[in-house]
Amino acid sequence: MQKYINQQNLNTLLDTLITQGIRVVAPRMNAGTPLYEPIAGANEMITDQLPRRSAKEAFFPVCEDIMTYEKEGQKVTVTDIDPARFPETLLFGVRPCDAAAIPVLDAVFSWDYKDEFFLERRRKTTIVGLACTAADDACFCTAVGLSPSDTKGSDLFLTPLEGGGYACESFSDKGEALIANNKELFTEPNNSKSLPLAEPHTEKFDLKKVKAWLDEHFEDPLWDGVAVRCVGCGACAFVCPACHCFDIVDEGTEKAGKRRKNWDACGFWKFTHHASGHNPRDGQPKRYRNRIMHKFKYYDDKFGQTLCTGCGRCVRVCPVGIDIAGIVEEISKK
């Protein structure tokens, strides 16, 4: 379904949903940093900056409880988290590179084990994508087969128009429902042209060729060359819209505590550290190789998809300038 909504009606829509008790998550400034966070009103929203962290945390939180325990005398009570208590959410203003990662993550979270924490949040969330009007030289969505107007992952997709307002197109029942439930705010589509969209200046990678090379080059001097400088932090994985590794820890006292799930990163030396003290990935080049392999080979082997949407966040935040786009480009030219 195609519709039009002006800025004022859009603000009204968000404010109405908030008053109805729906959690609206949108890009906003938090202490000087743009992040996807719940907003208290449409006036908090910003649409001109790519949030520093991706939208994955709406489904895959930085940290969440998965169980609580209490001990009183000899009696131990273990309580599971009830997914029914996850809030209904509207995830608004999601960049195509962030939205596209979400269906990619569906594959791993509903594979041999159905992760209710992820899937229930997914069911309760409507995603409104927003076409992208600004790219920098770290962006490379076009190189991995997406684009600044890619609607993958969005229930409703907005394209900013010349003269204000947005063209809206729905791609799912949730998107249809959002329009149907607020139909007085949407009007029929007009003929305004879209604002000029972003143009990332990267060549399209031949992902088949990249994978073919990775299939054959588990051992290769390239890994030392690119990753000897890696300092072993988790910044790349944590800002990534598609990285989804997590760690589970128990925190608390003997009397009461929680089992928590939080983000983990393959760059950490502890990631593969065995209880015996042995570490099969005993250096940063091996850890970084895993990052590339997982994104462009393993995930493809298993689910037929690429675990990278070209948002460029890891390129921007890497403390030592490791550039995934540059590396994949190098591989694709081999």
């Binding site: 998550v25 966070e37 895959f60 939180p61 930085v62 969440e64 988290i81 208590r85």
Partner: protein
Amino acid sequence: MHPEKQTHAFEPKIIAFVCTWCTYAGADLAGTSRMQYPSNVRVLKFPCTGRIDPVFILKAFQQGADGVLVSGCHPGDCHYIAGNFHARRRFAVFRKLLEFIGVDLNRLQFSWVSAAEGGKWVEVVTDLTERVRAMGPMTEFKELAMEEQWSGAINTPELQEAYNSI
């Protein structure tokens, strides 16, 4: 005659990290001399103030202490020659850090109490307890422990009720 026990609306929890050679012996002396001091203080014994890591103080606040006392031998009296000299520098810096982070330093007390100073132990503990009592509970770290990143937060009936009552 024991003075009549007073009851208060708020009984602060005070954690005391003390060295075994001086302050612990001093506290012991206060006890054997039947001196009265507030029972709010929980004493944790260490070999030396030099062993008391600043992270212990942090942990005490996180686990619900309203006030923290660190006490050991007077300078020059350390059983290990210099442990308290090292501690003195470390705590001088650590308290500045806590202050900068926004912890009210009135909740944190350092003292030298020797094995002979049962009276001083009583005075230090009583002063700190009464000062913290007047300040009320230390809420900062407790509230922090309840907080979640937005993405991990869930709707609980209690939270909803609290929200509705605003």
